[in-house]
């Protein structure tokens, strides 16, 4: 079921949002103009699922194989369903679904430690000590979420404990309103269920009473905090009603099989349910890819799983008519060294690595950039995190040059002078 948004509901939510913005946003009033509204409506129907491959997935065992080279490792490259494009043989299912995917093989992000790399790839830029910046999920939640939404705007799964602090996500100066619903030990949020002994009708009755008292209190008073207070209640009630989205037990077995039996597969199925219900941004973290030893065994396990889960998700989105409006991203904090160490491992490597973008706004069946024959450097089309973020924003119909204001300081979505990759955009 596609999210249906009409102009009235959009205007309502936009007007309501003006009262509660924590950061002054000079673009809100502009958005009320008719052409901008149309664009906004189009934009708000779009969704993002980010596969955060924490620890650093190897580009050589996924999107940029170098078969036969000393650095290539043992895996072969296989032809995809797009002539001329080869990926690792560990991804046979994705190899037959590449028509909607753009591979970017030319990231040089320069930061080779987990914490710094994760921060960079979450924010699209280096963090600042004086100002906490919002991450990709928070910015997209801010740009595409609806103020009166009954579902969360930003959900992030990160179940493994390793590297979790680097995958938390942050809303920065956008405020807690756009912070992720962060799920760690469980795949469903705690405390959403009604307490024992409280029926739904009791809950509704209490809400009605609270609203009556609140409205009576608000009569004759003018305060933005009143609106915020009421919105917070409404939002919590909405989130409580979204509890069933996290429960996949009712999904047909055929759908569950598409995603597979692993935790990563199950959380990705929840992600699909969330974006179908209107959540703009879901991050499913799959940790931990840090294969300093036994890289090929680790990637046999994890890429095989990624191939199954990702291809299942794409099939499911396509069958539901959601793929055109959903952007699926695979991304890590960095890639892995072309050189193979004595433990048959690969180490941290930020100089020439790969990500993928699939679906919404993307020119599928394409490859952007090129690493050299051994994968040691970028040979063509070098980009950094900023260009990647600009491309993601552009694919979603978001102006990457848009500025937030923190006090009088303008903070653009991406660093000034950054350009999206036109060759990757549909």
């Amino acid at each position: 079921m596609k999210q249906i948004i009409n102009r009235r509901s959009f205007l309502g939510s936009t007007l309501a949002s003006t009262a509660v913005l924590t950061a002054a946003d000079m673009t809100v009033l502009d958005a009320l103009q008719a052409p901008a509204v149309a664009e906004e409506l189009k934009r708000q129907d779009k969704r993002v699922i980010l596969f955060w491959l924490a620890g650093g997935a190897s580009q050589l065992e996924t999107w940029d194989p170098k078969p036969g080279r000393p650095t290539g490792g043992p895996y072969r490259a296989i032809q995809t369903n797009v002539p001329g494009i080869h990926i690792s043989e560990l991804m046979p299912k994705m190899s037959q679904r590449l028509q909607n995917t753009a591979i970017i093989r030319s990231l040089n992000t320069k930061i080779g430690d987990h914490g710094g790399g994760a921060t960079l790839m979450h924010l699209g830029r280096r963090d600042e000590s004086a100002l906490q910046l919002p991450d990709l999920g928070a910015m997209i939640a801010r740009e595409m979420g609806q103020i009166d939404s009954a579902v969360p705007d930003y959900v992030a799964f990160y179940t493994a404990t390793e590297g979790r602090s680097g995958g938390t996500g942050q809303s920065g100066f956008l405020g807690a309103r756009y912070a992720p619903m962060f799920l760690t030990t469980e795949s469903k949020p705690a405390d959403l269920s009604l307490p024992p002994g409280i029926e739904a009708v009791d809950h509704q009755t209490r809400a009605d009473l609270r609203e009556l008292l609140s409205n009576r209190f608000a009569q004759g008073r003018k305060s933005s905090s009143l609106g915020s207070h009421n919105e917070a209640y409404a939002r919590v009630r909405g989130l409580m009603s979204s509890e069933q989205l996290f429960d996949i037990s009712g999904e047909p077995q055929a759908i569950r099989d598409l995603y597979g039996p692993t935790l990563f597969g199950e959380q990705t199925l929840v992600a699909r349910r969330l974006i179908e219900a209107g959540t703009p941004f879901v991050k499913v973290s799959r940790a931990w890819w840090d294969s300093h030893g036994q890289n090929f065994e680790t990637h046999l396990e994890l890429v095989t799983e990624l191939d199954h889960v990702m291809s299942g998700l794409l099939d499911d989105l396509e069958q539901r008519g959601l793929l055109d409006n959903t952007l699926v991203i695979t991304m890590s904090e960095f890639g892995r060294t072309p050189s193979i160490n004595a433990s048959l491992g690969r180490d941290h490597f930020a100089s020439a690595w790969s990500v993928s973008l699939t679906g919404c706004g993307i020119k599928g069946g394409s490859v952007y950039g090129k690493s050299d024959e051994d994968g040691q450097t970028v040979a063509d089309g070098e980009i950094g995190a900023a260009e990647l973020f600009a491309t993601i924003f552009h694919a979603l119909g978001i102006d990457h040059e848009k500025e937030y204001y923190v006090g009088v300081r303008p903070v653009p979505l991406t660093e000034p002078g950054t350009h999206p990759l036109k060759d990757v955009i549909a």
Binding site: P70, T159, T161, S291, H292, G293, T304
Partner: protein
């Protein structure tokens, strides 16, 4: 003087080679080695020559991870799933077959050279007629998936000195002893400590049974791998060896390790079982000798590289080893 006293262990030759040397066979009564490598080739050279001249055999399309002399042939196996028969006189391939659908991890041969045995990640052990290349028998008994829904791997195989038994070992620590003549399972031996599943921090696994060896009387089976690992990003577990009286199903020895981390990639018994040799490594390498009668470690030392394979000569006085970027020869003869 004892010809093969581990306390006399010394490196007598190191030959640097580019890439990774995974598998090794030695021409009897010579220092001519056949080495399977990460450049998809078999390297043929005299390791003791002043300047070894290397002849390369091409034919595989991925890492060459098993080489064995069987009768008059050299047989190599690789991650391309192929077995290739080579004539070592002409240095030409005489037969190449698609033997497995996934990576071949190890190749062995019966002492009489009649049969070749291969194991692969399709989780099948296959017995081949060494002369004709015909498939003799498939042995199924290892699960294709781990209990956690990931692909399993069948790393190790060994043939008993009496030529009657085959042993195989997999990712999750399951070992099977088979009757070569009829394919029956004779024993199942579990070594679960060699498989580390991390359900919390990293949510994947590491380890597996990497090496197997029968004693000279074929009664004992030694199993090599690595103990439980805390941080599975690295080969951080202690090198581990367990020994079984496999017909009784009893574990007779457990060497949990102390000083060296990493995988025990290769095991070999001395000719009269005076000691058991284990070698392997993490980012570095090790070599260890165990006295089974006394259940103790005789000697252990750092190896010049992570050892992937080795061969003992007939009297156990020389060890030829291949590993990360090197071939090495140790002697045990003493002064």
């Amino acid at each position: 003087m004892i010809a093969n006293d581990p306390n006399n262990l010394k490196v007598v030759k190191e030959v640097n080679r580019p890439g990774i040397l995974f598998a090794l066979a030695q021409q009897p009564d010579s220092s001519r080695l056949f080495v399977g490598a990460s450049d998809f080739k078999v390297h043929d050279f005299d390791v003791m020559a002043d300047k070894p001249e290397v002849v390369e055999y091409s034919g595989h399309e991925s890492y060459v991870t098993g080489v064995v002399l069987a009768g008059k042939f050299l047989v190599s196996g690789g991650y391309d799933g192929r077995l290739i028969w080579w004539n070592t006189e002409t240095k030409q391939a005489i037969r190449s077959i698609h033997a497995h659908t996934r990576w071949i991890r190890s190749v062995a041969a019966t002492p009489d050279g009649k049969y070749v045995v291969s194991v692969a990640d399709d989780m099948v052990c296959r017995i081949w007629d060494a002369n004709s290349g015909e498939l003799v028998r498939d042995l199924y008994g290892h699960d294709s998936r781990t209990p956690h829904h990931f692909p399993s791997m069948l790393y190790a195989c060994a043939v008993s000195p009496n030529g009657r038994y085959i042993a195989t070992g997999d990712r999750v620590g399951k070992n099977i002893v088979w009757d070569l003549a009829n394919g029956r399972q004779l024993a199942v031996l579990e070594t679960p400590i060699m498989y580390t599943w991390d359900p919390k921090a990293r949510i994947h696994s590491i380890g597996g049974v990497r090496s197997l060896a029968f004693s000279s009387d074929s009664r004992l089976l030694a199993v090599g791998g690595m103990g439980q690992v805390g941080n599975i990003d690295h080969l951080g577990g202690l090198a581990r060896v367990e020994v079984f009286d496999w017909q009784k199903g009893e574990r007779t020895h457990e060497f949990a390790g102390d000083e060296y981390n990493g995988l025990v990639e290769r095991l070999a018994f001395a000719p009269q079982d005076q000691w058991l040799l284990a070698a392997g490594g993490d980012n570095a390498g090790f070599i260890k000798f165990f006295d089974l009668a006394a259940s103790k470690l005789i000697k252990q030392d750092k190896a010049p590289m992570h050892v992937h394979d080795l061969v003992l000569n007939d009297d156990g006085s020389k060890i030829y080893a291949a590993g990360h970027g090197k071939a090495v020869v140790w002697e045990l003869a003493g002064a």
